[in-house]
Symmetry: C3
Subunit: 279 residues, 3 copies
């Protein structure tokens, strides 16, 4: 797709969500549940958070897409996650995985390993998480493999490019890497997106809620467009909110206001460019 | 009661809560716990959220009233809910049930079925939830019974009137139905309340926190007055907040500010009227 | 230490946190998780909340300090808390305990009893909680012991002084008592701190987030200085936020903004004094 075609697809996704209000349930961490739901509502979707296995199956069928974030673990997830993801597959519904906390915890790691075959449609994380997930799944990334890496935020988004592309190809979907600039790829087309705010790192749930909103767009658009639309929305709303706020508290408030009001044109016009082929 | 008597009772409930700061514990969903507690505090009550069975019993005895919302389920609720509600009965303490998520999940449905005999004092939900609960309990509503219905927000408040009245009579308490206008009934007197804001649907926890505040007023007033006072407060504060805000983020902030400052007179003066007898 | 030395240590702690961004994980209650994390981020730290035993051990090793608050209990805590606290001891990492809800629940009380030997580095609570914990641990406080007391907020901060000093000596750390004025002690030096706002009682999580921020400073300073710095920060930010807000909603927002921007000098200059020796 050309840049103009992508921008047109972004505008379409924004409008379609606002018109159809898709139900996008989540299994997501307790810390940021509220912001995830609020961001999904502000973007025009409908939210529902669940913990139990049979409710996961019900919601996998009832929802148009789903968001999974293992930031805080509960013992019951051992059963809930596999059953829910299998139900998503049976129903052919897209889902977004946030590999937060990768590297920590036996149950969390077992679930992440299982998602190698029960693949998500979109993965959204920071550079270190994306590299760690590609390594965990033993994908060929062209990077030196030094075992599973712990979570840190020190890897640059560009450095995670090969891992993101390998992941995207493996899942047959899209990967979004969050950082100072953001990278979105489906394994073929790779886009670099500008904007956002340093204050995203001073509120809890910026990444989680971006993932939740990505799932909302996945209900109406293909994986690359869904991931790109959410990243563009957050880059636009973050830039706006930074100008209109005085710190992390007001930033979060204005962010929600701006997500609600953001014009589809402004979201599509937020700067992004196709990455040059690297040899 | 005449409208003037109801308004006088509303003002009394508002003042009494602010003077006595009743402790109103909750078993409530994780997504909106924070807003429920904050709304209860802003209205003048005291909040405490619990999960475990023995703590439910302790709080059922220690609190003046309780709020139960099964929006997100935990396995331990299978034991916590029946024990807590029985302790509420033993202590003669009122409690408010929010039938959110009715139609989904084996444990949730088992608990909802159990509440047919372990009746709440007040039920607060949207039209579809109220109809679904009345059907689940097989109450005579005059409506065609087509089995238990899933949750949707498409039923109008007026359509839920017969179900609300049947529920109120069954529990010997009051039922509040939230929607564009709100309906409050004790099975005999039925009131239609105006106000609020479309933005209530763009934040998570508007209904939950209304339920939590209803429980705060139930600590000091009879069921009909408690339900009516909370609905009036939210209709007033929602209207005010919409005028003073720029989207869902600032709306939630101003809502909390307004609940805190709302004059008893303004809450009582928010428009409501008695529904004409229907034949 | 003289007052000037304490003020200098406060300024150092504030700067060091902002420069090093220490990771300070929490096992903390669901109601206020989000505000705890947001306050820790605003102060300059890094947050992570966990529930499971092996993740507690991992985080006890990986973090620079930890925050424990049993406001809402989960069954898995029976295993998570002892294993996590033992790992904190093995790693020599400081941790802050908030004795919220003391007096209620078999599991909660069993855990609180266990902390008598697996001692925290800092305890932060209101007057009644501090007295209840000293009594539970059967420390000599010079107060009449009438058994373990339930939680109430009626005891004055000054009345809790002997209990706080006995606790601080027992743990070999520091204790902070929150109230209209705040008391911070390491058992030898006792400080009384002024400021804050009545609105702290009208939002949920003021005390919890103060505890979380205390743990952030414990990552870089000794217990007395860490507890004092957090109390001073909250007294300063609370006073500022009250002036700039219109109720509890805007108060919470401005509080986060102010924590983020607060100058080290202003935090150190917030009024406090050493308590005269009592005979």
């Amino acid at each position: 797709m050309t840049k103009e075609e992508l921008q047109s697809a972004i505008r379409r996704a924004v409008h379609q969500v606002r018109e159809t209000c898709p139900l996008v349930p989540s299994i997501t961490n307790m810390v940021t549940m509220s912001l995830v739901a609020n961001a999904q509502l502000a973007a025009g979707g409908s939210a529902a958070m669940i913990n139990l296995p049979d409710e996961g199956e019900t919601m996998a069928a009832a929802g148009s897409a789903m968001y999974v974030n293992l930031g805080t673990m509960l013992p019951v997830y051992a059963e809930t996650l596999p059953r829910t993801v299998r139900a998503l597959k049976v129903n052919g519904h897209p889902w977004v995985l946030d590999p937060v906390g990768i590297g920590m915890g036996a149950l969390r790691m077992e679930l992440f390993r299982g998602f190698r075959e029960l693949t998500p449609t979109i993965v959204r994380g920071n550079a270190s998480e994306i590299i760690a997930l590609a390594n965990l799944w033993q994908l060929k990334t062209g990077l030196l493999q030094d075992g599973v890496r712990g979570v840190d935020a020190t890897d640059s988004v560009q450095a995670a490019g090969p891992a993101a592309q390998a992941l995207a190809k493996w899942i047959g979907g899209a990967v979004a890497v969050s950082g100072e600039q953001d990278l979105v790829t489906d394994g073929e087309t790779t886009l670099l997106c500008q904007g956002g705010s340093e204050l995203f790192t001073k509120i809890t749930g910026a990444g989680c809620s971006l993932g939740g909103v990505t799932a909302v767009y996945a209900a109406v658009a293909d994986p690359l467009v869904a991931a790109l639309t959410a990243v563009q929305l957050y880059n636009y709303a973050g830039s706006q909110a930074e100008q209109l706020s005085r710190g992390p508290g007001s930033f979060e408030m204005v962010l929600r206001d701006t997500i609600y009001h953001a014009a589809a044109e402004a979201i599509a016009a937020q700067p992004f460019e196709q990455q040059e082929e690297q040899s």
